[in-house]
Symmetry: D2
Subunit: 290 residues, 4 copies
């Protein structure tokens, strides 16, 4: 089928390629004329036969303006898919705004990162049945082969919500491996930490794709000597904990994983300055001076 | 090769079967005459040609007495493998006691649970090179096919240590999935929680064997209605946090996962009784009476 | 000076009393005619000479409508103080709305609970200097004697913000005591847990008002046998963790304390159901059936 | 009464002074002849009339050897008090060894730090009634005036156990304040962080001695600019979490506070290196190079 695709970055560019390999006709637009198939969003929409489906794959902070621009040139019966990392709570307002013009809206969380072009993208979709049905050929082409990798999780917002939880879990999984890794590094018992990690790839309870990637990272740099212990966080981790608060769900592990990223970006910890100052006050414990 | 195997429970019995399928000659001993190949440990040792290898696969609290009994009838040049869940710190003292009699000692952490007979057991081994070499045919038969599933992690104790860390990580991984699961259950956004879990099995960053099992559990009982939120813990989780303390390694995620199990077994939380009592004292906040 | 006071509940009623003891003229309004000094907000405003100060001390969810009603009958140059538990982020929009009518706005976090009438209320205030100055006689009467118990923390919103952090810290403090209490209860070493708590009231690093209250609670019920381990949470605890997320500040202790309250209100933990189900899947570990 | 006192460091020296002010006859011994009253432990014991009481106040790692030396020159009916920071589990073995010679043993946790000389030391005592009774005049002199500051918590070991829990709680309390402090520092809402802390000293739920000390620290250095966010930990914090593990008590807050100290001493976090490496592997997220 035909698809318009706005945004041809690391993710969007690979998705265009995977969709074309599957026989779909993709018209892509990006600011960069070297990768763009058309000169403007208007031209993109003009090249598609109605009823159209346009997939938006741009940074979350510009998604609303892109959708607004699209809506201005699209027509009743068309559908817009947001495949970016929007906060789930933005989806319903968007769907309502588009609905007034007769344009359908589907939100789609996309996992798979740089590996998706080859193995397929995990897709989590929210929206009305009729809209999701219309887009299924696209979803089928993007998802991995086999019975997994796609879910219509619920109404509008459910796709981004499921992707948010996916990422929250991902934070916890990564940190669990990371803690075990650090403990082995610290212990005098283990001579071959990368070897232990590698061995776990089969026959164990902890085997996973993330573990495979950790093994791969250690093959490239066995001591991780070239990597700083510094990690950004994306919106999804924060939103997961915000949802834990809204819904009164205890999420100790995911919150601690998020907080560890916050701490990784601090030069010094103001909290620990206060602890050090207190220890000096009551016990005369030595304080390291800056 | 020949192997003596003491302990034919859920793990030992399956391992005997997998080894025999691979062509090894296994003489198994257990208290239960219905499963035991011999009537006593002495008879087991008598059936093996020197130099012997005997694998001990019994509950951790009887391992030392079984090893003691074995040592009494084994001879210089023999090797004992402890494949049970011993605390790593018991290994070196054991190896020294056995070493005085000229008996070698290898510790082996075994993962894989009820699935190992089919897919192979993840093996983490500690001990001297010469002892590990002698046992390699057994390890080769037990481990999964392919390049993974076995590591000689270091000297005596390293096998149980690596298995301990493996289990500590496992606690964290399981709890990360569990938290994400609970959040989706609590949210009005997700209509099909089992469907989301299932979809994640391919194309996502969180795909893993544990996730496959969670999908399987939800297929059998989509609401987990028949399961109580109650979990025992095994020694390895506790030892992991004890090691975190000994080595000054921050293990927030694994400790929180362990503590969640402790809490799951409490009828009521004494700590929260104190919190409730305090809230009443300073704010007159209502207290639920028992 | 004259003060209008809307809301005469547990807090407002005591504050009226403390203010009157200090010689101020307080006109109080509440729905309940048995405690109210006037029949309506309009009557309350009418009894005050301009420029007026009216303190609003009502539940957070009706604060905006009460302020709206007040604004309709108050005049340029008057001041409204919100002493309730509003989210700090509501303060600036309110101040702007009132500012358009020439009415000043001061937000005031109030601590002290049921003890405030006797010992004074800890006050944390946000607003413009001129507005805060006008209200100082009221603040002076409400606060404890001596150099502490009052701060002008910053512009509009700073008062509720400081109170929010105060309450977040309170969650952590209470939980730290609660954990120590539970550990002593669980240990075979301590014969006299209430005695230990009592002893800590002087000469120790952990002495505090909260500890005094814990001692008091244990005097009334040494085993806390009549209290269930169940605790509500108020908005401030949640907002504190939301702010931690917004500002990328690691708040492990306060978040864990909040999550413990969430968990205290669950009949069973969905997360631990998932953990139990997983343990059964991979290890055949027994599951408690519901 | 007469007391022998071995160890005249920061704590022991001040305790000698406080005891003498109360009219007791204290013979102190320390390696440093400038502060010691006698030239040897033997001389110290010789100066005391039987039955003797000797208080040992030395670093935990030399306590056993000092007690051994004392036991060699003391006699049946004498009592040794260990006021140092011994692990509670050492107390019973010690008491048994001394008991064979007819020497009584009392363990005493001592709080109060540099402030004890003036305000009294919080004492938590374990031991047999008859031994504790004999020592009461000493305890009475050391403790603060009034009904608090002393507890006979149970048999041998209970004193050090109660002190251990005291310190575990202390970790949690300090970290709760520290987190609130950091959040206010990070927020654009609070103009006067030290002012807020100071205000809380009266009229609030969070008032405490530790808060007074934090105020004091901020008076000396309002930005804590001269303090590094680096904190050692003492045995008690670690032992508290070890006991949590032994007794299956969830201690999330205290464990997180302990882990925060571990993290404060790391140049870089190996766990966060692993997280950063993983993020690069699956998402191509930028990694900071060392």
């Amino acid at each position: 089928m035909q698809l318009g695709l706005v945004g041809l970055g690391r993710m969007g560019g690979n998705m265009r390629e995977r969709l074309r390999r599957a026989g779909h006709e993709v018209v892509g637009y990006a600011h960069d004329p070297k990768v763009s198939d058309v000169a403007s969003i208007q031209e993109l929409v003009g090249k598609l036969a109605a009823p159209r489906v346009v997939w938006v794959m741009v940074p979350a902070d510009v998604t609303d303006s892109v959708i607004e621009e699209l809506a201005g040139v699209m027509a009743q019966g068309d559908i817009i898919i947001d495949g970016g990392n929007s906060r789930f709570s933005n989806d319903k307002p968007r769907a309502e705004r588009l609905g007034k013009r007769g344009i359908g809206y589907v939100d789609c969380g996309v996992s798979g990162g740089v590996w998706g072009i080859e193995y397929g993208y995990g897709l989590m979709v929210g929206g009305a049945d009729e809209h999701v049905q219309r887009c299924m050929p696209i979803f089928e082409a993007l998802k991995p082969e086999g019975p997994y990798g796609f879910v219509h999780a619920g109404g509008v917002g459910a796709g981004h919500y499921a992707k948010m939880v996916h990422n929250g879990i991902e934070y916890g999984l990564m940190h669990a491996y990371a803690e075990g890794y650090e403990l082995m590094r610290a212990s005098e018992y283990i001579d071959d930490v990368p070897g232990v990690i590698k061995s776990w790839r089969e026959g164990t309870v902890v085997k996973s794709w993330l573990l495979d990637l950790l093994d791969r990272a250690l093959e490239e740099d066995p001591e991780l000597a070239g990597v700083r212990g510094y990690a950004e966080d994306t919106g999804e981790g924060r939103w997961t904990v915000e949802e834990a608060i809204r819904l009164a769900v205890p999420l100790n592990v995911i919150a601690d994983s998020l907080f560890a990223r916050f701490a990784s970006r601090q030069e010094d910890s103001p909290a620990m300055k206060a602890v050090a100052a207190l220890r000096f006050q009551f016990g005369g414990h030595a304080v390291k001076k800056d």
